[in-house]
């Protein structure tokens, strides 16, 4: 009998389809982050400097013009970058810590407790973020922390649901059984097998949630539920520019473009991460 030699087809060299979105995303997020960092050490004008004249056109003195109180708009947008990134990161940290904990609990819970947690998560997801934010602001006062907690709590339910599903899938995998047969305890299995295997999907989702949080922060600030006045959020800049949009459109366009740049950048990065963070997607198919 002749030996049948089966040659595995070589995996085609992976096309780097994701690279331009990832690079563009990193550039956009990097630009916003650099602006935010710069705002900590240098600003064109002091944030409360109202000497620029009201609603000035963009000029060399005021690159983006001034607002209706005579403040330099570029200064306000730079501070806004800092606020947007801070709230985005803070919300993701709050949402991830609470969400992953609850999701893991649900995945390991008895069916009854699992159903109860899942129903609770559905309630939180159905609960308007706006109402949640109003309640928290009413209880704690308007502050950056209140905004981060409100957005983070709303986000945590989505993260918990995803964590629960991903964990259950990994728990059904034979390598978990194999790890248990060799005597690994549950905490070890969570740390060494479950978290690494759900992280690629989870981290992409968290990156997308970061974008959602930035938009949510702008919305809350627009409605006056965001950080109080000395903090110039992009959302509040939009709100302040609303009445003068026709005469001085730059006041709305500048923070609007900044928002788009950051959220789009984050989404591009998330897309690029999905291709990189998951070795399973790297393997030939």
């Amino acid at each position: 009998m002749t030996a049948a030699i089966v040659l595995e087809p070589q995996a085609p060299a992976r096309r780097r389809r994701h690279s331009w979105t990832l690079i563009l995303g990193l550039v956009l997020v990097g630009a916003v982050a650099a602006t935010a960092l710069l705002s900590l050490v240098w600003l064109p004008y002091p944030p409360d400097d109202t000497t620029g004249g009201r609603l000035e056109e963009p000029s060399w003195q005021h690159l983006l013009g001034t607002d209706k109180l005579g403040r330099d708009l570029a200064t306000q947008v730079m501070i806004g970058a800092r606020i947007a990134l801070t709230v985005g990161l803070g919300s993701v940290v709050v949402g991830a810590l609470i969400g992953i904990t609850i999701g893991l609990l649900a995945a390991f819970a008895t069916p009854w407790l699992d159903d109860t947690i899942s129903a609770g998560l559905d309630v939180v997801i159905a609960f308007p973020v706006l109402l949640l934010a109003m309640l928290i602001v009413a209880a704690q006062g308007a502050s950056l922390v209140s905004v981060m907690v409100a957005i983070g709590l709303a986000m945590s339910a989505v993260v918990a649901r995803l964590t629960r599903v991903l964990t259950k899938r990994v728990l059904g995998e034979q390598y978990v059984t194999a790890a248990r047969t060799s005597g690994t305890r549950w905490p070890g299995i969570v740390a060494r097998h479950i978290m690494p295997n759900i992280w690629p999907t989870l981290s992409v989702n968290l990156a997308l949630q970061f974008g959602v949080a930035v938009l949510a922060e702008a919305s809350l600030s627009y409605l006056g539920l965001g950080a109080p006045p000395p903090n110039a959020s992009w959302g509040r800049l939009l709100q302040e520019a609303q009445g003068t949009f026709v005469t001085a459109p730059v006041g709305a366009i500048a923070p609007g473009l900044a928002l788009i740049a950051l959220v789009l950048g984050v989404n591009f990065v998330a897309d690029g991460l999905r291709d990189i963070a998951d070795p399973a997607r790297r393997r030939s198919r």
Partner: protein, 262 residues
């Protein structure tokens, strides 16, 4: 005292379907036993029941004494002390039994670190030794992910992981079924040598009479969760008492005839 004593083992699904019915067998330290049966005969359920790994939805009755520890109904805390230290399992499909996102070296290192308390350079040395023992000498394999290895290499790695905790009983659940025939022969020889060299007991589960007979002389034949026959492979080939065993032997023979193997 036998290392593994199973008596009146019965496993039922939540709907009341019986997967294993009143099964009993003994395995002495250093002894070997084969369990043979077709798909759905309850042989894999048996191997999971022995290490207390059955999903909670299944109800288990009877007794499984592993090194004197009652497995049936035992809390997780007690099972953790037995798993790995007393018994390890090699599964059918090594690709799914290995963590896809963990390098092979780390997967081997984990049970070694836990059971032998090694760290640092000593641990790295022990990992290299464990892989060399299963003829995976190439240093690149330590750094490889499971999907970068061949099926045979993966199963060798899985065997190294199972043996890393120095168990006294190795449960091999269809360890060569997912492999092609030449690799299958190599893996069987490797298992045979390692079990022999370490004086381990072996519970070998397979649907393949020829494979089982290469590894053990004593077998239990299972069908629909019931042990229909037990005895030596030689005796069974010569004079099967149960009609199902006779059928197994006859079909194995006719396959051999057609392949011109006899």
């Amino acid at each position: 005292m036998s290392l593994l004593a199973v008596s009146a083992l019965t496993v039922r699904t939540a709907e009341g379907r019986v997967l294993v019915d009143d099964l009993a067998f003994d395995l002495a330290a250093g002894g070997r036993l084969g369990i043979i049966g077709e798909s759905g005969s309850g042989k894999s359920v048996t191997s999971l029941a022995v290490t207390g790994l059955l999903p909670p939805a299944l109800t288990v009755d009877g007794s499984v004494l592993l090194d004197g520890v009652q497995i049936v109904g035992a809390p997780e805390r007690r099972l953790v002390g037995v798993r790995g230290r007393v018994a390890s399992v090699v599964f059918q499909e090594p690709l799914t039994a290995l963590d896809p996102l963990m390098r092979i070296g780390r997967q081997v290192a984990e049970p070694i670190a836990r059971h032998r308390g090694l760290r640092g350079a000593a641990l790295r040395g022990a990992v290299a030794d464990a892989l060399a023992e299963v003829a995976l000498d190439d240093a690149r394999i330590t750094r490889a992910y499971p999907h970068e290895l061949s099926g045979g290499q993966r199963q060798r790695a899985a065997i190294a992981i199972a043996l890393a905790s120095r168990p006294r009983l190795l449960i091999a659940d269809e360890p060569t079924t997912a492999l092609d025939v030449t690799v299958q022969a190599q893996i069987l020889r490797l298992l045979d040598d390692l079990v022999e060299a370490r004086g381990m007991a072996l519970l070998f589960i397979s649907h393949d009479l020829a494979v089982v007979s290469a590894m053990t002389s004593d077998v239990v034949v299972m069908r629909s969760g019931v042990a229909v026959e037990r005895g030596t492979v030689a005796g069974m080939l010569a004079a099967p008492t149960d009609p199902y065993t006779a059928e197994l032997v006859r079909s194995a023979r006719s396959l051999d005839d057609r392949l011109g193997r006899r």
